[in-house]
Symmetry: C2
């Protein structure tokens, strides 16, 4: 099996059409493509109207279209909000001549404001006329759902199976209020939206398990500010058009995880006010929930994030230690959390090398070994203020932090988790102070 990045985003998947329009802060995207569907939704106990509505719509197991607007979250909008979400589905169904029950609805934007249905109807008219299976369709749809995002997010891959090829393509948005904790039955955080299509033919249960597995390791490990959105939603639609290609669950999950990870990393890179991308890798803890909790705690810490913004190698490691200890961990392997076993490595490309390309392949970590610095070795802090290498790494646009907790005895299989985020800059404050 071989994963290859291809062009086209959503529209790389045969039979999928898309388009979008963005006018000021208000945008509308429409995606057409019939297939089996599974979704994951925000864990926020207060769910926006489109989340509640779409959860119900998905009960049929198939959809034909997704309509999504930006600029208004349609959350905390009472009964009118639910009616408006349903009206969005109705408008899409009549415009496309499909069943209303087969339309998923998503929203992102300001909370507590009602939708401008006149605007949505007008924008939908424009969008329907331009629906296309060209690459442009995916890109315009991705642009339409942007809020504080500074670039649109899309990816497509082909998976070579002998014989045949399976394609997965997706778009996403997300920049602030990002701390997704999505579950199969309503869970996520931050307004992040992701719509993923594939031509693979898969059983309903496989589709569901694959999405859960992929989201757990990717979107749910992405933190911008730790605020859980009321509107998060990830939808996966499988058209089944490549039914002749037999793809196993493991291979499909690997491909889907790749797609979700790339979209998650694009969201992390585009965090509100971000000047640096952060990837944290944690090893040596058990169970996996703890490993993930620790990775997330580090990338979520305002103190770690601001130390990275300030390029302070001398401050960041102490704050990482505090974040590890402060995370909601239960057990950590048979050796327990022992400071004298913790090691922390800083890695990076150094100044100006981080912005070159965003969709590097999975192995970008391995290409960094010319710039790495063991900042904490078995509980001993190195004198970072004296290290040119540490300074060089911290000056880069991409900071990789490897934490080995050393809590796992040789006989145990250690778990590993990665989390993604960005630094905390003046601009985060400026953007969110309105």
């Amino acid at each position: 099996m071989k994963i290859k990045t291809i062009n086209g985003g959503l529209c790389a998947v045969k039979g999928v059409q898309a388009y979008g329009i963005k006018e000021g802060s208000k945008g509308l995207a429409l995606i057409e493509g019939e297939g089996k569907v599974t979704g994951m939704f925000t864990a926020n106990k207060i769910k926006a109207a489109p989340v509640k509505f779409t959860e119900k719509q998905l009960e049929n197991g198939r959809i034909s279209a997704i309509i999504a607007n930006s600029g208004c979250a349609n959350c905390f909008t009472g009964d009118q909000g639910l009616k408006d979400a349903e009206k969005m589905a109705e408008l899409a169904s009549s415009a496309l001549g499909i069943d209303k029950a087969a339309v998923a609805v998503a929203s992102t934007g300001v909370i507590g404001v009602k939708l401008d249905m006149g605007l949505i109807e007008r924008q939908l008219g424009e969008v329907v006329k331009n629906l296309t299976s060209d690459e442009k369709g995916s890109t315009e749809a991705a642009r339409a759902i942007m809020t504080t995002d500074t670039f649109h997010k899309e990816i497509a891959i082909s998976i070579d199976i002998d014989p045949g090829t399976v394609v997965i393509g997706g778009i996403a948005k997300g920049s602030g209020m990002i701390f997704p904790q999505m579950t199969a039955t309503a869970t996520a955080t931050a307004t992040m939206l992701a719509f993923i299509y594939t031509d693979a033919f898969l059983e309903d249960e496989v589709l569901k398990r694959s999405l859960n597995a992929a989201v757990e390791k990717t979107f749910n490990m992405t933190v911008i500010d730790g605020d859980i959105s009321t509107n998060d939603m990830v939808l996966l639609v499988a058209t089944g058009k490549s039914a002749s290609v037999k793809i196993g669950e493991a291979d499909f999950t690997e491909g889907l995880t790749y797609v979700c990870q790339e979209l998650a990393k694009q969201i992390a890179r585009d965090g509100e006010g971000a000047t640096k991308f952060i990837e944290v890798q944690v090893k040596g803890a058990l169970p996996i929930e703890d490993t993930r909790a620790i990775a997330r705690a580090i990338v979520k810490s305002p103190l770690v994030k601001s130390a990275i913004f300030g390029e302070r190698a001398d401050l960041v490691c102490g704050r990482i230690i505090a974040a590890i200890g402060g995370s909601a961990i239960t057990t950590t392997g048979s050796l327990g959390l022992d400071l004298s076993r913790i090691s922390i490595k800083l890695k990076g490309k150094g100044q100006g090398k981080g912005n070159e390309k965003e969709n590097e392949n999975e192995n970008e970590r391995e290409n960094l070994d010319d710039k790495e610095f063991l900042a904490v070795k078995n509980g001993e802090f190195m004198d970072l203020s004296q290290s040119d290498l540490a300074v060089e790494i911290m000056s880069g646009k991409e900071i990789f932090i490897d934490v080995n907790l050393g809590t796992v005895a040789e006989a145990e299989t250690e778990t590993e988790a990665r989390a993604w985020g960005c630094d905390l800059s003046y601009d985060y404050v400026r953007i969110n102070a309105g």
Copy 2:
């Protein structure tokens, strides 16, 4: 019973002597006063050496002195760190001619750096010479433990019991890494230190219960950035010098809670980069743990905090809603979390009125009713952008947010919680980016 604020801080308590010295970022404070002791410590799973050391010291149930340094947390410093903490106790014991086992040690500052014991020894020499029971002693000790704090924190009260008077006095520090979750056996967050003395005569168990009750409602409800410190510590020492005055547990707890709340509010006001003080009051939820979780979630949210910095009444309520839903609540009263029951009131003094006085009495809330605005009424958002009153309130230096969840049926006794924090400003980033 009547609580009255008095001068003198720690030294308002008879028999307590204190002093401190601050040279650049490095300071040392010493407090002398013999009595029963109880303490609460950080919940961070990684505890600084002085936390581990002092927890053991407290096992005897009495101490004669507290030595505390600022500038270095003595955390993640291995065996040497524990030896250094012990050495601090030794130095204090020989300087004062007391038992080493009766000295508590605290530290606050940078993590991962070892103590400069030469400096501590020299500073201790200066401090011992100047120990005094004058008000100045308390103030200098409070100044000595400051790190990024911009003002020192102290308070004293007298409690009139007929016949007689009980005094409680304390100092504290804390500005960043503030999210204390202290328990009786090691729990807290943020480096916050508080040392409180009283002349009350109380049973060991009463002392412990009172401190737990007070800390739960005060320090543990104060959030600057949500990062849990490795060094948090609150010590309460009862000299018993007013043994002839019989004070009941409820009265003492009320007085102690007042002292802790004033110190907690001073910490919130002095949050790193803070331009506005925030108090959140939540009503109408059950059980109390949920009410507290919701109050804390609101005051912790970077999005709520930055909306307040930006004085955006129109954005803040939606973000409060998202924070409520995103909090780790379990149950919320028999009516459940229902958007159509939630009401949010914004209160404040308006522009320029907030800086006047910091140690207002408990009832300052009640004096605000000329400036209040019902921003969300039973799930309906008011159009805040049009309200001069909302604009005026948001322009003030003190923002009070009252949330009524309405989840409690008439037959149930609702719980109530308050949390304190500050806005998120450019200066928070500047300070923590080093």
